[in-house]
Amino acid sequence: MPVTLRDRLAQFAPDLPLLHTVDGPLTTSDLMASSPGPSHPISGGALLIGCSDLALALRTILQFEGGLDRMGFCAPTLGTKQKDDLARAGEFDAALLDPGETLAQCPSFNSLPALETYLGTHFSAGLSSPRPTEWVMTTSGTTGVPKLVTHSLDSLTVSTKTATQPAVNIRWGMVYDYTRFAGMQVVMQSLMSGACLLCPNLMASLSEQLAFLTAQRATHLSATPTLWRKILMTPRHQALAPEVITLGGEIVDQLVLDQLAKTYPRAKCIHIFASTEAGVGFTVRDGLAGFPETYLDDSPAGIDLRIVEDQLEVHNSRVHSAYLGEQGAITDSEGWVATGDLVAQRAGRIVFLGRANGTINVGGNKVMPEVVEAALMAHPRVVFARAFEKRSAFMGALVGCEVVLDQPIPANRPEDKKVLIGQITAFASERLEAYQTPALVKVVDKIATNAAGKLMRR
């Protein structure tokens, strides 16, 4: 029974191209080149992987999985402080990062030989056979430290089809960050099927990335709805010829599905509901937003779904019941995961309405309204503020805000109001991440509160 990714890839011919980066193709044997053979070089230890070079990350995984206790993944773009916090929360012993970045919490490396020497010294003991290493994924955090969710190679590949023959005609385009759950799904799907994973330089402009994917004849492409909309706004996007398009990570609306079907008539368009905590839930293949209500009785992926108090809950027996460390429970005592997604039943379909806790999903980034409200209320003229979701045809949602001023602006001075709104917006922007910035600030006389004086969020 294969337990590591290395075991699974060992079935492929050494010269099968599994990856194609801007530097050229990498075959099975290129990716495994530095791996030593049957006995594992290390036993124990926890490694945090957050480098932007996917090929380096894969070589590292193939080298040490089976020996390490766990491998964690964090976004290369995450700030150094947040990476340090993650390294502490997950008790990582070493980190693989981009050149020039170091952590206070644990030694940092940016090449495989240096990492190998370090791990070999601290965790040596050749194991005769590999054992399962935990794969720790990070959730997209709203504030502070992202949460750590323990997976296994099995739970990450629940929905992955393993081919007996390599799928040499399939070329997956990689435009996701591989450290995120959705990105790792694409990596696994491509590698396990023996397809070629095309890796453009994600730091380059989107038109350069698309040019690379077009030149490399990508047949399969997965992205968030927001990224798909950006692709549709990029010149020469029509030159792509995908056979399969997948969308995930945000609510998928009908407009983007229709436009993709029109632009790429040959492509099958699939949207995926998944979360880091729940693992993959299910896919929808009929080109319509939401999912058929029949899924509630008969989920196609064998993962049970139910709706409790307007929220979607998922039952997946392969996922862990709690976050790593002291970060709390994921499932209830019966194994149900509350997804936090508000849903409604409409004409035979279940449609997604937003997040139950009021979180606003701005192009895949989660914004807590309280954070925006606090930034606005720090302005001397603002006495009360409310942030809410404003629908956007481009980002899914934006942050809209209402503010109550300390004293009203005279009705005959509309210009004063415009200037003040500009100042308040700029003031809040300085205190917030770009995606948290209010897209709209409205001055109102009062904001509704409940009996306890709290904001009414729904």
């Binding site: 038109s207 629908r391 956007s392 045809a393 481009f394 300085e430 995606y435």
Partner: protein, 87 residues
């Protein structure tokens, strides 16, 4: 009253500059009608904010109100779409 193309362009340019200022980006970023929207100095978030600001100015959001999705590539296409979709 419906705006002409040059009036619409002026409204868009003003809102564009306001967003650059609010986001503390260089305010002299110029664009002509052939400029690709996502190469204009605004990223897709800034662009979505532009559409939201124009909704305040003009009273309509043609992208949310249109029957069919439309994703313009250039400023020319963007402004022409606003002209066509005026209520």
């Amino acid at each position: 009253m419906a705006l002409t193309k040059s009036e619409m362009e002026a409204v868009v340019r003003t809102s564009f500059q306001e967003i650059l200022q609010e986001r503390d980006q260089p305010a002299d970023t110029a664009f002509d009608m052939d400029t690709v929207l996502l190469d204009s100095g605004l990223d897709s978030l800034g662009f979505a904010i532009l559409v939201s600001k124009l909704e305040e100015e003009l009273g309509f959001d043609p992208f949310s109100e249109a029957e069919e999705a439309y994703y313009p590539e250039t400023f020319e296409q963007f402004i022409v779409f606003y002209i066509q979709q005026q209520p």
